[in-house]
């Protein structure tokens, strides 16, 4: 088990290096820092001096890979690649293009992101499993059929419609909750409710339909017939035998998402003006702040890889058949 995790972590290194090289290529080779400067300063009438000044103030005035002007070790370290890409490995994120400390911002914004993402995930999981169980229990009947159709309809609706519709209905028409915004401490709850409700509702269609297939797949297996031959009631068969097995893919799937919860939800946070990492990312993209996008790409990849490792560990916990070697 320990050896396994060590090996997986070792495997993660070349992947992170690959991502780093890819982002470096995208951000500094495809377009030169000059292009970026011109873009930020506006296209018309940019003087070379202004460009140089912008580059210097953002640390883009160094050579890309090798600094021939510098001495010994600085040949390599005093470059854009070292400063902007390699330092990500040390979680030294530097400052954004408008001069703010990215690490500080991320620290600030993590909590609001989690405040939305965690309740959405937990409530959504419970709701989806309940619906899926309901459909599986009544499989082959009209309850199941109409449930599936409802799911397909629900998942055909754009997530943005849920958000705008929810805001219009619950916040604007019935004035149950504030339309958007955020607050610190317990006051945040009234701001959290609507995004969480919408996050859950928009996931019901796809989620419960997907889980239903897990339940049905298990329901067709031989051990279920054995359980019935024991004389167990259908509900006992469902809860004791089918649910236990179907939960394996469900739980491990959820576990893979856990680290990414830190990244927040792009749409929800942006529409509800929650100061989380999701809206941070969107603002970064909208303001064409390359430093933020680069950091978020790196952070997202690290969290994704952690998620992969956690899935494997989760398997050993929920599935007695699996031992990691």
């Amino acid at each position: 088990m320990f050896a396994y995790i060590v090996r997986r972590l070792a495997y993660a290194i070349p992947i992170l290096v690959g991502i780093n090289l890819l982002t470096f290529y995208l951000f500094f080779v495809v377009n030169s820092p000059d292009d970026m400067a011109r873009m930020h300063l506006g296209m018309k009438r940019v003087t070379p001096e202004a460009i140089e000044k912008w580059k210097a103030s953002h640390g883009y005035d160094k050579p890309l890979l090798v600094n021939t002007d510098a001495a010994d070790i600085h040949k390599v370290t005093d470059t854009i690649f070292y400063e902007k890409s390699l330092k990500l490995f040390l979680f030294d994120f530097g400052s954004s293009d408008d001069g703010r400390d990215i690490s500080f911002d991320i620290g600030q914004r993590m909590l609001p992101s989690l405040a939305i993402a965690v309740p959405s995930l937990i409530i959504g999981l419970l709701v989806n499993i309940t619906f899926a169980l309901l459909m599986a229990f009544f499989r082959g009947t009209y309850v199941d059929l109409s449930g599936v159709i409802l799911c397909v309809v629900l998942m055909s609706v754009s997530a943005m419609f849920y958000i705008i519709g929810g805001q219009y209905l619950l916040a604007k028409t019935f004035r149950l909750v504030p339309i958007s915004g955020f607050d610190s401490g317990l006051d945040a709850i009234k701001f959290i409710i609507l995004p969480v409700v919408i996050g859950v509702v928009s996931g019901i269609g796809a989620g419960s339909r997907w889980y239903r297939t897990f339940f049905l797949e298990e329901a067709g297996k031989d051990y279920v017939r054995t359980a019935r031959a024991k004389g167990l009631a259908e509900s006992l068969v469902l809860f004791r035998h089918i649910l236990r097995n179907a939960l394996i893919p469900i739980v491990t799937g959820v576990v893979s998402l856990l680290p990414l919860l830190f990244m927040g939800s792009l749409l929800l946070e942006s529409f509800f003006a929650v100061p989380g990492l999701g809206s941070y990312t969107i603002d970064g993209i909208r303001n064409q702040d390359f430093a933020i996008v680069r950091v978020m790409v790196f952070l997202g990849s690290v969290l994704y890889i952690i998620g992969l490792i956690m899935v494997d560990i989760a398997y050993t916990i929920v599935d007695p058949r699996i031992r990691l070697t």
Partner: protein
């Protein structure tokens, strides 16, 4: 006579709706008495499993339902019981064990939980009392180290152990009737013998009745008190065991016996049943077996036969038992079996010589996936097959026999050893050179369906090898040859334009044989070519293989676990255990006078069709060890009833007497 424990009256089951609904069970009536073993015998698709499932009302939902008939358990009609009441019957009065112990246990619950569940459900037992009772049952079914096993999960047990756990689940409710649906089909012969013995012993201890569903006449002979034969959804014969094996009356039953391969039929073609089982989606206006029966006449086609009684409580559904009509005389019963062409023509000249063949699969472990050990799948096998001969390779699953076959043909590259074919060293051939040489040796797989690309027409499948080997210059040439091959293996050449799924199992295997023949091979490795087939179809394929060998002079490496097939077909036989050959010699020698204790045990474990010859079964303890960690000394010694001190220390060398070789210290 006392009231029967279970009585089926005109039981009828339908799968699906409407006109084309399938009737897998069509009016079955039978009686099972307390304490007896009632055997339901039939080939695949005859409806025997559906009969069993319908007794427990566990038919596949929502398509299956009982449309007619009664199921009386001690006079109470189960067909009418509400579902909630039915649950008191399942697992309590009637228990069932299934064919596949591997998948029939819940993988995420412990053994103890799965057995304890029955106790809680039917006896209200909980906690300590339940646990003690579970341990007691586990002990009763012969599971060693019960306290540890109690907490283990199914995947930690071997197949035989799992089936024992299934049996303990069935026993936990202390049922009056145990339905065993092909309980040993998925198990090896030695394990099968253990499980059957266990069932017999449990029946003696508890007095429960057993409904044993099987396709194996040998199991029926050793287990049953009464036998019913099922064909196309109906019972066609019922009799006491001795009566059935002594004087079966239905032509189908008789054919079953005659199509069994055995040593005494070596010089003849086996009797076969032509055609296939009829589809069950329509009404029948005559006898269901009529079109395959060689004693049928016009009357059989137009009149549905009744359930006619014969002496000693024997019944059969055949017009020939009806005394009110006179059947035309037939010479079928006295017709001598076709002799097989005695003289073998020999165009094959190449001799296969396998020496010290080893196939080791590495096991990776640790941080950097270092090679931590090997699975010794094949660990030093030597074989010699002269032209035109059949060498059989027998052994239980996991002994490495299939790997030997594949490594011989270089489908798996051997780790060590030589494979000399004619004057070519095959292990030295690579790439194009090996590809070109492949026409000389061919492989026939166990499952003909999965060995054909489902998206190609069978004509193209047969032609593919010829294209790859450059046989036949034009497409016309090749087509003509495919045409000829189809006729050769007894298929209509018009079928070339069809897809594999349109054929029956036997026909598919014929296509596979035609495909192998297409490239003019000299050696064919047959990997259990008949074990996926029913007995009557198996006979057809064996006949064909034998006939081809005699006319074309092919050599066969015949891999199987079925000793009766070996005795019928092979010239020499090698017995494998854990990657090594333990005994090798001429078939008659090895099967009549086995020298190695493992061969002796294997032979004794095979259920025999003759009722009288109740041989003493040599019971092997435990399971086959893992080929990743073979025991020190003789690989067989931990299970060997005759193990000596020397066996623990070193692997015995070969002892040769005449052309019979054995690796055992008993014979040194």
């Amino acid at each position: 006579m006392t009231q029967p424990l279970l009585k089926l009256e005109n039981l009828t089951v339908r799968l699906g709706q409407g006109e084309r609904a399938i009737r897998p069970v069509d009016g079955v009536s039978l009686e099972i008495h307390r304490g007896e073993t009632y055997s339901l015998l039939g080939e695949s698709g005859c409806g025997k499993s559906m009969t069993a499932l319908s007794i427990l009302r566990l038919l596949p939902q929502p398509i299956g339902r009982i449309t007619d008939g009664h199921i009386y358990l001690d006079g109470e009609d189960l067909a009418l019981l509400p579902e909630a009441e039915m649950r008191r019957i399942r697992g309590r009065r009637i228990s069932m064990i299934f064919q596949e112990p591997m998948t029939s246990l819940n993988p995420v619950l412990t053994i103890g939980d799965q057995i304890g569940e029955v106790l809680r459900q039917h006896h209200g037992m909980k906690g300590r009392a339940a646990q003690d009772r579970v341990l007691e049952i586990l002990d009763a079914v012969g599971i060693p180290d019960v306290r540890r096993r109690y907490r283990e999960y199914p995947h930690q047990l071997s197949g035989g152990m799992k089936q024992r756990v299934m049996i303990s689940i069935a026993l936990a409710g202390e049922p009056d009737l145990l339905i065993a649906d092909e309980p040993t089909t998925a198990l090896d012969v030695t394990i099968q013998a253990q499980v059957l013995e266990l069932l017999q012993q449990l029946q003696q201890d508890t007095g429960m009745a057993i409904l044993l569903i099987t396709h194996d006449l040998g199991i029926v002979a050793s287990m049953a008190d009464r036998v019913a034969v099922m064909y196309a959804g109906q019972l066609i014969e019922e009799a006491g065991r001795d009566r059935f094996f002594g004087a079966a009356r239905h032509p189908y039953s008789q054919k079953l016996f005659e199509s069994l391969p055995d040593v005494h039929k070596r010089d003849h073609a086996l009797d076969t049943i032509p055609g296939t089982v009829p589809a069950l989606d329509h009404d029948f206006s005559g006898c269901r077996f009529e079109d395959r029966c060689d004693v049928a006449w016009d009357y059989c086609r137009s009149h549905v036969p009744d359930w006619y009684a014969a002496a000693d409580g024997q019944h059969a559904r055949c017009h020939r038992l009806d005394e009110s009509i006179t059947a035309p005389a037939t010479d079928a019963r006295t017709r001598p079996a076709k002799p097989v062409a005695a003289a073998r023509t020999n165009h094959v000249t190449s001799h296969l010589e396998v020496a010290d063949l080893k196939v080791h699969f590495p096991i990776h472990k640790g941080v950097f996936k270092r090679i931590a050990g090997y699975v010794y799948a094949v660990d030093g096998v030597s074989l010699s097959i002269p032209p035109g001969c059949t060498q059989a390779l027998v052994g239980e699953s996991g002994c490495g026999k299939t790997t030997v076959g594949k490594a011989t043909l270089q489908l798996i590259r051997p780790t060590h050893g030589r494979v000399q074919f004619g004057d070519t060293e095959l292990t030295a051939l690579k790439g194009e050179a090996l590809r070109k040489r492949r026409s000389d040796f061919q492989f026939i797989f166990q499952d003909p369906f999965s060995s054909m690309n489902p998206r190609m027409m069978v004509g193209d499948i047969v032609e593919e090898g010829m294209i790859a080997q450059g046989i036949g210059k034009t497409r016309q040439d090749r087509r003509a040859r495919v045409h000829e091959l189809f006729e050769r293996v007894g298929l209509s050449p018009e079928h070339m334009q069809r897809y594999p799924h349109e054929f029956s199992g036997g026909q598919r295997q014929r296509i596979c044989i035609a495909r192998a023949l297409a490239v003019d091979p000299q050696l064919i490795v047959c990997d259990e070519p008949t074990s996926a087939l029913d007995v009557s179809v198996q006979a057809q394929i064996l006949n064909l293989l034998k006939e081809l060998q005699n006319t074309l002079g092919l050599s066969y490496l015949f891999i199987t676990h079925n000793l009766s097939v070996v005795s019928y077909l092979a010239d020499r036989v090698a017995v494998m255990y854990l990657g090594r050959i333990v005994e090798e010699g001429p078939v008659a020698d090895v099967l009549e006078r086995p020298l190695h204790p493992y061969t002796q045990a294997l032979l004794s474990a095979v259920p025999v069709v003759e009722v009288d010859s109740r041989r003493e079964i040599i019971r092997l303890e435990g399971d086959i060890p893992s080929p990743a960690a073979p025991p020190a000394g003789c690989y067989f010694h931990p299970r060997c009833p005759q193990a000596m001190a020397a066996c623990h220390d070193s692997y015995p060398a070969e002892t040769v007497s005449g052309d019979h070789t054995v690796c055992c210290f008993l014979h040194q």
